[in-house]
């Protein structure tokens, strides 16, 4: 292959990648432009791509049109508590399934894996009925507790602890450490990379969850960002600029989280594919 042909190839493939990237990020650029372009330029296509001046007050206006602060607080409470619960229960169960022998172990493990077989969309009606009998609709516990069971996480932590060196625990046991201490002080720190990767994926999944909060919550003050945004849409249905500003408010913080935790997200996605 001659040098020139190689160069032409390279340029061609670079161009393909750049076009793909452009298509993927275009909607977000459009969002930014539409959100901050001055009023009265709604018909100007160029203004949505590169506004003549940036009207940041549009975003303030959207923020003030709905209780976004409250929705953000609810999202944080929901996503953080559910994620901590998921990681903690999955790690403990995975550890016990990997490290201990006890009667009924196999059956109980299949019970947990059974959770993987039941898509949430299949059980939305009974889950709402169960939460209603607990009087948990429109509450934080109603949002959080049903999301804590984490079958995939239990499975992955079990695999991880199978691979962890048993000598560490034996040494600690000889030194007289309790089983809880061995779990907490010896083995948990080893799992840190798994916790980070699974934790960020679980957090983003909870944060972006829409169907579950939609059916469990129906008051404005208990809405999370995603359901609040859909209410916002129905209220301001044709006010595209305002809706786009609201979408921007919902996207930017998560975008920042994603940029910071990019490596863990990639690892978490790959982990989830081990089936």
């Amino acid at each position: 292959m001659t040098f020139n042909r190689r160069l032409a190839n390279r340029v061609f493939f670079y161009a393909l990648v750049v076009i793909a990237v452009g298509v993927v990020v275009f909607p977000l650029i459009w969002m930014l432009g539409t959100a901050v372009k001055p009023n009265g330029q709604i018909l100007d296509l160029r203004a949505s791509l590169w506004p003549s001046q940036f009207e940041w007050s549009n975003i303030v206006k959207a923020w003030n049109s709905a209780p976004f602060g409250r929705w953000y607080l609810n999202s944080v409470i929901f996503a953080v508590c559910a994620t901590i619960g998921q990681i903690l229960t999955a790690m403990m169960a995975g550890y016990a399934f990997a490290m201990f022998d006890f009667p009924g172990k196999r059956i109980l493990f299949y019970v947990v894996l059974g959770g993987l077989m039941v898509p949430f969309t299949v059980i939305i009606v009974p889950v709402v009925q169960i939460l209603a009998t607990f009087h948990w609709l429109n509450t934080y516990q109603g949002l959080i507790v049903p999301n804590i069971a984490f079958a995939l996480g239990t499975f992955l932590f079990r695999q991880f602890f199978f691979g962890a060196p048993p000598e560490l625990g034996e040494a600690a046991r000889i030194d007289g450490a309790s089983e809880w201490r061995i779990f907490y002080k010896v083995y948990s720190p080893l799992a840190r990379p798994v916790i980070a990767a699974l934790g960020i994926i679980a957090f983003l999944t909870n944060w972006n969850n829409f169907l579950f909060p939609l059916i469990v919550v129906n008051t404005t003050s208990m809405n999370v960002v995603s359901t609040g945004l859909s209410v916002f849409q129905t209220q301001f249905s044709t006010n595209y600029d305002l809706i786009t500003s609201a979408a921007l408010i919902a996207i930017v913080p998560i975008l920042l989280v994603a940029i910071v935790a990019q490596r863990q997200i990639v690892e978490g996605i790959s982990l989830g594919a081990v089936q």
Binding site: L28, M31, V118, I123, V125, V127, I148, L204, A258, V266
Partner: protein, 331 residues
């Protein structure tokens, strides 16, 4: 990545155990279960049960019991709201009623949508992964943008999509106008509405397939590809006869994930079309939601949920049967 790093294991003073013996279930007896000189030590049973109790209990209460309830209730009728408890046994009537009143259309929409979703999301995912896998300077930096749609809230990006496809002022229609074409109404034409939600689904999700395919490509044996290259195999033949066969397992896993994601599609439907026009974009999950929480017909909703469960189960079983053995990567 799940593996404890070699350095760390050395630090722990562990023996060199062949990686193949480390994971897995079954016969592998943990040394920790035995005391010195092979005497079994007392197993901390109570602690073990305490450790698994939250996971087992919550799975049972919020997955398995609801599944049983949904299946049970799909055979009962007379309920006009989801909290009604006194119901009559009606056999398969909910199923036939649900299918005749929108259910079969929903299954059809689900099938069309899911097939289109699989073809596009997997094809584009593989194509972009192959591009990003090329040895070009700086190409690693271009991976990140593909992850963005996967992680940011779907409700928000679906709203942007609605804006792009909006009548009159939307980007797509402005482009059509500039090209001298007719404007298109993406909410009132069944096929255009389906195109709108399908393109969104693919845009939103295919980055995940890019990541998975890229990871699989990076793990392929380099020497094999180099040998083929030396023997004069061009890029296409290297892909067709070396990469593609080696990617088969990754493709199977990605196929499962993509299929289940396509089947579960809900949020963008709710935001963009609300299932319309006339149910043309209402897949089964949206129909379940619609029956239960808009029409308050829980019997029919549960019947559709039972059908969805069967579909997911069949897919899972087929996949486990075909790639089951050896599907667990050595962790």
């Amino acid at each position: 990545m799940l593996e404890v790093s070699p350095a760390r294991r050395k630090e722990a003073g562990a023996r060199d155990v062949p990686a193949s013996r480390l994971p897995g279930r079954g016969r592998w007896i943990r040394p920790a279960a035995r005391g010195q000189r092979g005497r079994p030590v007392k197993q901390p049973r109570l602690l073990a049960y305490l450790f698994i109790a939250p996971a087992v209990g919550l799975t049972a209460l919020f997955s398995l019991v609801p599944l049983g309830l949904a299946v049970h209730r799909s055979f009962y009728g007379g309920g006009t709201n989801i909290f009604q408890t006194k119901l009559d046994f009606v056999g398969l009537q909910n199923y036939s009623n649900a299918l005749s009143s929108g259910g079969s259309q929903a299954l059809e929409v689900t099938a069309i949508y899911t097939v289109g979703f699989i073809v596009l999301a997997m094809g584009l995912g593989l194509a972009v992964a192959l591009l990003l896998n090329m040895k070009l300077p700086g190409i690693d930096r271009l991976r990140a943008p593909f992850i963005i749609p996967v992680v940011v809230p779907v409700v928000a990006t679906a709203l942007i999509w609605g804006n792009l496809f909006a009548p009159q002022f939307g980007f797509i229609n402005r482009i059509l106008e500039a090209l001298g074409l007719h404007q298109a109404d993406f909410t009132s034409s069944p096929s255009l509405a389906l195109i709108m939600v399908l393109t969104f689904g693919v845009w939103q999700f295919f980055g995940e397939n890019v990541i998975l395919y890229l990871a699989a490509l990076k793990s392929l044996p380099v020497d094999l590809l180099e040998a083929a290259s030396v023997d004069g195999a061009g890029p296409w033949r290297r892909f067709r006869f070396i990469r593609w066969p080696l990617l088969r397992r990754a493709t199977a896993v990605i196929l499962v994930i993509t299929t289940l994601t396509g089947l579960q599609t809900f949020t963008q439907i709710y935001i963009l079309t609300a299932g319309g026009p006339n149910g043309a974009t209402s897949p089964i999950v949206y129909e379940i939601y619609n029956k239960a929480f808009v029409q308050f017909n829980t019997g029919q909703a549960d019947a559709l949920a039972g059908i969805l469960f069967l579909i997911s189960l069949v897919i899972t079983v087929i996949v486990v049967a075909t790639i089951g053995r050896g599907s667990r990567r050595d962790v």
